[in-house]
Structure formats: C-alpha cells, structure tokens
Symmetry: C2
Subunit: 447 residues, 2 copies
C-alpha cells in the first residue's frame, strides 16, 4: 500500500506522520512531494525572521526531510506535481529538468495556498514579494541589501501589518496601503481604528482607502507603487492581499471545489475514496455562520493533517470546523478575535447586539495594569455569543481563548456572566474583562 | 421597604449596589453594617500591599462609604451586628460602647470568613496575624518596624505563599511551614513540587511535613514558633491556614448551614423568605464534583452579591456554581488550576486518567519562549475533562480560563483536541499547550 502526499508543509506532513504512527513501513509506503526546498515550517514566523527577531530559516523548520526519512517517510523537495490521474492512481510531475510519475493507493492533497497577485503585480522586475513560503521569506531577505530605503506593503491584514513592522525593524521607511477605511478588516472598524493608531505609532505611513493600480520599475527593479492617491517610492514591495486555495491540480483532476474555492472534504478530511485533503487548500465549516469558510492558518492545517493521517492509518478522527479565532501583535498592541465580526454576522443573517467595554489586564492598582478593549456580539432572542474581539497592550490576545471555547459551546452571554475565570490581582481585575463584557452585552439584550 | 446588609465587603456591597440600581431610595432604603473600618476592598491585594508592591489601603478600596452614600446606600462602619431576630425582623449590635437595633424587611447576610486560628495561635502577645481584612493588613504593616528580622508563615496555600514572598520583599528572613509534603495542596503533588522549587528559589526556607505546636513569646511579643521539627525564631507570625465561613450569627438565628459550614442558599442566593446570603459565608455548588464546596474568593463573592441584589431589586439572576478555578503568582512562577485536582476527583468518586505535558508559552523559536507544564484529568469512559493545572514562568496562568470554560461546558478531551484557540508565534506554539495536553490525555484514555 502506498500513500502519496502532495505538499510538504504542515498539513501534508502531519498526515504523513500520523499515518506512519499507526502503520509501519512494511504496511504503508509514504512518499511526499514538495515543490519548494523546505518541509514542515512555520510560515507564520516569516515576518519575525525578516524583521530579524528570530533566526531562520532553520529555526522555523519543525522537521526536515532527513528527520522524516528516519521515520521512513520519503520526502522529495524540489518536486512539483503537475498532474493527478485519479483513474490510473498516478501523479506526474517535474523535478528540475526531469519528469517523474508515481502510483498511489491513497493520496493526500495538501498543496496549500498561493498569495493573491493582482495583474498590476505581474512584472519581470525584481523586488516584489508575496509571503507564503520559506522560499519567499528567503528571497525577500536576500533582496533587503543595504542601500534600500523605502518599502511599500500592499494590504493591511495580519501578514501586511506584521510585514510592515518587520520592514520598520530593518530600518526601512514603510508605507502600508489598504483599500478599506481601516486595516485589519477581520475586526470591526472601531477595533480596527485602534490597530491603525498602533501602526502609525510605529512610524508606518498608513494610507487607507487607497487602491494600487500599477508598479513603476526601471526594468530590473521596482521603483514605486502607483495608487489612486499618488505614487509612493518603493525599493521593495510586499503583497499582503491574502491567499487563495491552491487547487488547480485538484480541480483539473475533477475533485470538488466549494464556494470558497477550497476543496470539499468530509469530516474525516476525505474528498473521495482514498483521496484526502487538508490545510490551506481546503474549505472548513465555520461553526457559527454554519457556512463553509476558507481560513488559511497553520493551526488548522496541522489539525486537519493529523485527522487525515489518523484516518488513513486506520483510526478515527474528525475535524469539526473552526470558530474563526485569530490573534496577532503589532509592536506591543495585541489584537484578537473569535466567532463572527459584525460584518460576518450580518452576512450570516444574524440579528445581534454588540457591547464594547474598557478594562485592564491586571487589577487596576497592580503595577503594569494597562487598558484593554473588549467587544462582544450576541444574538437577539437566544442571547448566544456570536463573537468577540480584544485589543490591548499586553496579556490581552490569548484571553480570546476563553471566548473561543464559549463560542464553540454556543454559550449564552447570560450564562457567561457566571463563568469561573481565574482571578488574582497580577492577572485580572476581580471582574474579569470577559465577565464585564458579558454583563454589558446582556444588558444591551434587555436582560 | 428596608434592606439591611451585614458585611460591607464585596458580596454585601455588590448586593446593595445592584438592588439600588433597580429600586430607587423612595422604594427601598438600604442600610449596611460593617464591623471593620473599610468597605468593598480587595483582600486579595493585601499581600502586595504588605510587600510594598502596591500602595494601600486606599488603592485596594473599590468604593468607600462616602461613595455609597452618594448612591443613597447608608454604610455604617465600626458597627458589629451581634444578633439577628428573624421573627421580629430586627438586627441588634454594638458600635464602640453604643448598642443599636434596626428593623428590616429584607436581609443580606454577607459576613465573610474568618481565618482559621488553631489553639496554639491564641496568645495575648503581639506579632501574630491572620490575613483576611484590610484591618489585618494595616496591623501587620504597622508591626513591620525596622529591626525585625525573622518571619514565619504557617500554611503553604495561596495566602501563605503570597505572604511569604511579601515578607521577603520587606527584607525579612522567612520560613514557610506546611504540614503537607508539598505547598499549594490545591494542585497535585507533582505540580506542587514546582511551586516548592520556586518558593525556595525566592530564598524562603520552606519546611514541609512540619506541624506547629506552640508559640514562644516574651509576653508582649512573639519570639518563635515551636514545631515537631525544632523551634524557628519569629519576630512576626502570619497565619495562612485557610478560612472558615463566618456564620455564627446566622447559625444562632436558625439559618441552615451545609456540610461545608457555609450557609445554604438557593440558586438566587436566597436562604429563606427575604433572607439572602452571598460571599465567603456561603457554600457553593461545585459543578464538577456535584457537591457543595466552600470556595472563599472575591470573584465569587462579587458575583453572588450581584445575583442577590438583582433578585432583591425585582430582577432575575442565578449563581450556577463554580468549577474551582484559582490562580496565583510566586515571584515569576504562575500557578493555575480549574475543575478537580486528583485528590478532589478521588473524593468525588471519579475514575480518571491524567496526562502531563511540557510545552512553551510562545513558539519555541520566538524570543521569550519559556517552559510551561500542563496537567489534565479526564474521566474514563466519557472522556470528560475533569480538571487542569498549569505551572509556567510567564503568560501561563490565565490560560486556565480556556480550560475553565471547557470544564464548565463538560467538554470531552477528544472534542478539545479540535478547539480553535488563538495561534501566532508571539503567543503560542502552533499546537497550543492546551491542545497538546488534550491529545495526550485522549491517548491515555485509549482513544
């Protein structure tokens, strides 16, 4: 029996590892193809590597091909699969100038996602980078030679903001261009305004409501970004416009794509008999909207890959979906969200109320107490918690986990006012910010 | 209509405030008696005040009598209620040399708890302190004159450990005496061993398995603590032996006490018609053991008082119990627990498995990543999470909240392996410590 894995990052290699744990090499041969040079790495760490906060690329690699080989998992880097034949159960591809063809009994499709690259970003000139793979990070780092002075980051989501900060750390003059009125559109505009303030506090020239239309180059190198509000000099351009599921091969092979563009799997991560998919190339169930969503995060990729691998290995596991949790840090500002934002709740058709409260991370009298803003959404009628957002200066973001577990369990905000959360002066006010927020939204519901 | 409140701290004054919000002064007169000098204060802050980390006592007071008077809540400090007559609906008491008697329609009993003071601690000599009220804290601070050099803290629970650290900060040579083999018996012994290490790391002479039998005094002042393992010099002795519900008056009046010694209330905090109780003098439902428990924490007192006040005010609210969450900090070591410890799970009759894992607070490669130990208990058969304990160096304790919400919702550890918790390199490894722990205990269950 032979398992082929397409994609050597979190999802694919988690699947491989879990399958191997349950089935020995005599029972199951495992062969993984990765078109890049690296396996099982933390793409989320790239901004910190670029910014010089962490070393790379080695530090960002959880397991390299040699380590997989010790577990009898054969990984071939620099191997790009170009075709899947479901009838013949073969994949074909190329490695440099060579081509290859291999047969499989089971297949894990874990090709990840590709950065959105609008037509204006297509240029033969150097200096324009997406940030998706370790290879992208390495190329960007190589580009950042002394003498460069200006950078433009296009897109103010997580990656855009993190990359803008990284480039400031590298001494560049950074402009962040976002077409929406606020950066970080995954949180509500009032919370996004706090992010905007922090971004500007870093010395980043944040330009919102601005659309990029073209690049200026000198042929070899990018020189400027042209927008509907002027031209911005740029020795380097970073694209933070989001990613799309990388499903071209799967689509060509006839595998089903959902409305998000991601592959459709069952709860066990199976697409069709013996064909599995996991990670950024798939769509997931959003447990609050009840709809499919594309949420390209390493944490989901790892879990989905593990689930696929357990099932391939003969066990039983399911991936029951996500609740939309995400956190990030901009300088010392921590931003977190879970469930649905107002925009998402509207789109899902919920009627809801919101409440926003100001509290502190520690007892107000305790040294190091700093402000924290918490916003919550609750459904009218049921009082069910729909979502929460937190912005604070320290010890803030991971508090979203308590909300995430509450959302997962469909708690009402009334029940949440009774939650038994940890209290001690170095860690929280006696009324935890979560409890204060739950009380306030309960009031807003008329309870 | 007149409401009398016995006890002017968190529970009583929360009840008064909530009742006032719903019923104006023409509708409801509110009169509160506090035998001490302070109202609505953070007793949990006392160790930090004694240690000089925070100012006091003002900073620890949330609202003083003048502030309550502005809300038309009359608070009389220095007034000790000595008798409750349920038939005549009166309380009598003394204020200095005066006596008083007042009638009520509704009564909130919120007399708090009193420190356990064994017979050996009864002495006319000065220098022996419990730590329960702001008055206790003030008296201890007054005692700590220059020239004192040795302190003995008896009892290695939260207050004992926090006070030992505070006294070290004040420059004293501190011995912490605990009769159990480990300090912090609210966590399992293996986790308590980590606490013991941190306590010793502070330069505290920790003596476990040692029982105190007497004090030595020179008549005026304590001089030493006599134990079954020798005599320890002590210019000051702090008692950290826990507290008991202060129910003498309620008991004398015929109100029902439970097996924990605390007052028995219904879900709305009512004891009997028009008689309410809240805070450290009550017992609460432990939602995991299914049994009554005495859990004297300010966070519960505030919630119970709020619930009583809402109901007195004509609204509807319930206090559905606790799940045993508690957190503390010893120097830079953070300790947290929720649900049941192994000892408590045994006592409750559960059959369970445990798993302990080592992880980090941040991605392993991120600056500031430090170790964290997580232990979880899951019921055999159902796989339900019964409890969790965390010990770490930073960004550790408040992670217990996600476990607390999971325990509250009776989640299985299998479902927990799918939880959508916040991930970003500055905040967590890609497999959050909670997920790793859930996976490990699921394995231990044979899943």
């Amino acid at each position: 029996m032979r398992l082929i894995v397409i994609g050597g990052d979190a999802a694919g290699m988690s699947a491989a590892s879990q399958a191997r744990r349950r089935r020995g090499p005599d029972d199951l041969e495992i062969l993984a193809f990765e078109r890049g040079d690296y396996t099982s790495y933390s793409a989320c760490g790239i901004p910190y590597w670029v910014g010089g906060l962490v070393d790379g690329p080695e530090a960002l690699i959880a397991r390299d091909p040699e380590r997989f080989r010790q577990d009898r998992i054969e990984v071939r880097t620099g191997h790009e699969v170009t075709d899947i034949d479901l009838d013949r159960r073969t994949v074909t591809g190329r490695a440099g100038s060579r081509t290859f063809e291999e047969g499989f009994d089971q297949l894990v499709y874990a090709a990840g996602a590709t950065p959105v690259r609008p037509p204006w970003a297509e240029t033969p000139a150097g200096g324009v980078f997406g940030v998706q793979t370790l290879g992208d990070g390495a190329a960007l780092r190589d580009w950042l030679a002394p003498g460069l002075s200006t950078a433009v980051v296009v897109g103010g989501g997580y990656i855009g903001v993190e990359m803008a900060e990284a480039l400031v750390r590298r001494g560049l003059t950074v402009t962040l261009v976002e077409k929406a009125p606020q950066p970080m559109s995954t949180v509500d505009p009032d919370m996004g305004a706090l992010v905007a303030e922090a971004v500007r506090g870093l010395g980043i020239d944040l330009r919102t409501g601005v659309t990029v239309s073209a690049l200026e180059t000198d042929g070899d190198r990018v020189r400027a970004v042209v927008t509907d509000a002027g031209t911005i000099p740029a020795d380097v351009v970073v694209l933070g416009l989001g990613v799309r599921p990388n499903t071209a091969l799967a689509d060509a092979a006839g595998l089903p794509l959902g409305p998000t563009g991601g592959l459709v799997t069952d709860l066990r991560q199976q697409v069709t008999d013996g064909i599995w998919a996991a990670g950024d190339c798939t769509q997931v169930l959003h447990r609050v909207s009840g709809r499919p969503a594309h949420v390209p995060l390493g944490t989901h990729a790892n879990k989905q890959g593990r689930v696929a691998g357990i099932n391939i290995g003969g066990g039983y596991a399911t991936f029951p979906g996500v609740v939309g949790t995400a956190i990030t840090k901009i300088c010392d500002l921590e931003v977190a969200r879970t469930g649905l934002s107002s925009r998402e709740a509207d789109a899902a058709g919920y009627s809801y109320v919101t409440a926003t409260i100001e509290s502190t991370n520690r007892a107000g009298y305790f040294p190091g107490a700093v402000p924290m803003t918490v916003k919550v959404l609750a459904e009218r009628g049921t009082g069910m918690l729909l979502g929460a957002q937190i912005v604070g200066r320290t010890e803030a973001a991971k508090r979203i986990d308590a909300f995430a577990v509450a959302v997962w369990n469909r708690m009402t905000v009334t029940e949440m006012t009774s939650l038994d959360l940890g209290y001690a002066p170095p860690f929280a006010p006696v009324w935890d910010p979560i409890l204060i927020a739950a009380r306030k939204v309960e009031q807003a519901l008329g309870g």
